[in-house]
């Protein structure tokens, strides 16, 4: 993707915002609050807490896999682009990968805003037809005996990958475990 001249867009956006604010259609403080939320509050640390809890608490893991939305809400995590959650678990035999080929649907409530590559044409086109190739782009090589399940978020259901717990994480606390969980591993393009 190419970017138009940034200063042009900047001017266009400023003009639009000014007109909307002047007309009383937008509260500028609401814009600040919205940006602040996604810049500093919602992010992959939310999903990491879900994953860590699932690793240490078998009962939680079961509830999460059975019906993810209320299980995630148990941790106080809910909201926009996370209204209908499904958790899918990596195992030694199955690797999960999440994409939205149609636009760029992403589980905001647990992962925050998506990275540019997730929204890019290369990822959206290849994730379904050549998931192993995409994983290779991310430095992940799966054994031929590992099957790949791709989840294309074509409706309002959002998917969260529960990565495999690292082998060297014996005895870690839930917080230490959460700190090990990466955003990429919860999309399925990374392992831990």
């Amino acid at each position: 993707m190419t970017h138009s001249d940034l200063s042009d867009v900047q001017i266009r956006v400023r003009a639009l915002e000014s007109a909307l604010v002047a007309g009383g259609h937008v509260d500028p403080a609401a814009l600040d609050a919205l940006v602040e939320t996604y810049e500093h509050q919602v992010g992959p640390h939310n999903g990491a807490r879900v994953v860590a809890r699932a690793w240490v608490d078998p009962g939680y893991r079961e509830r999460l896999l059975a019906d993810a939305t209320p299980a995630i809400a148990e941790l106080g995590i809910r909201g926009r682009q996370g209204e209908h959650m499904v958790a899918v678990e990596n195992t030694p035999d199955v690797h999960n990968l999440v994409v939205c080929t149609l636009c760029s649907c992403y589980p905001w409530s647990v992962l925050g805003l998506p990275p540019v590559w997730y929204k890019s044409a290369p990822y959206r086109s290849r994730a379904v037809a050549d998931p192993r190739g995409v994983l290779t782009d991310f430095g992940v090589t799966l054994g031929a005996d590992v099957s790949v399940r791709v989840w294309d978020s074509t409706a309002e259901v959002r998917y969260l990958v529960i990565p495999q717990r690292p082998a060297d994480s014996e005895g870690m606390t839930e917080d230490e475990l959460a700190a090990r969980v990466t955003r990429d591993s919860m999309i399925g393009v990374g392992t831990l």
């Binding site: 609401a30 926009r80 409530s109 805003l113 540019v116 590992v146 074509t154």
Partner: protein, 196 residues
């Protein structure tokens, strides 16, 4: 664009910032704030972003598409009179926009059913990807009774439908060039499906 060739490798930016320019933040804020204004819904909004010539769509960045979509919505649907107040932001985001509705009839399909997707090619909005049209799959989950984007995007009502998780083999979708060790699942509304 699923399955289309030629876009090249996936390149992840190292230490990617959440935003690449100040204006991207303002566009995010404007889209969310105005989206709460009641003049349009998320499906109208997606169609306003996506229904443009492919060369244009592919040459714009993500937030440029959001901006172009927002400009179109304001032009076509007008400015909202209901204004999102800063104090209401946390509750509005926490509430989100659930799309499950009370079912009015039984689901036609059950888990395990073999289905085939229709070969739909509508000019309007649809959420049945091109690569998964006319393909055989299996129902793996009944998600619930959800707002139907194909109709909701026209602003004429929610027309909720049963939504299913349908799983296809890589070979069914992409033939001999597909990955036989992979499967792809999509979320498909009942009107997209027929018994196989």
């Amino acid at each position: 664009m699923g399955g289309v060739h030629g876009f090249g490798p996936v390149v992840a930016e190292v230490d990617e910032p959440l935003f690449h320019a100040e204006w991207e933040k303002r566009v995010l804020g404007l889209v969310l704030a105005l989206g709460a204004g009641g003049k349009w819904n998320i499906d109208i909004s997606r169609f306003a972003r996506e229904n443009r010539p492919p060369a244009e769509y592919l040459s714009l960045s993500y937030y440029e598409i959001w901006l172009a979509g927002l400009e179109r919505l304001l032009e076509e649907r007008g400015r909202p009179t209901r204004v999102l107040a800063a104090a209401d932001v946390p509750a509005t985001l926490a509430r989100g926009g659930p799309v499950d509705r009370e079912p009015t009839h039984e689901a036609r399909f059950a888990v395990g059913d073999a289905v085939v997707t229709k070969n739909l090619n509508p000019h309007g909005h649809t959420r049945l990807p091109r690569y998964a049209r006319g393909k055989h799959g299996v129902i793996e989950r009944v998600h619930g009774f959800h707002v139907f984007p194909d109709v909701n995007s026209t602003g004429t009502g929610e027309d909720p439908q049963w939504l299913y998780l349908v799983r296809f083999s890589g070979s069914e979708l992409f033939g001999p060039d597909g990955d036989p060790g992979s499967s792809v699942s999509i979320d498909a509304f009942e009107p997209y499906l027929e018994p196989a």
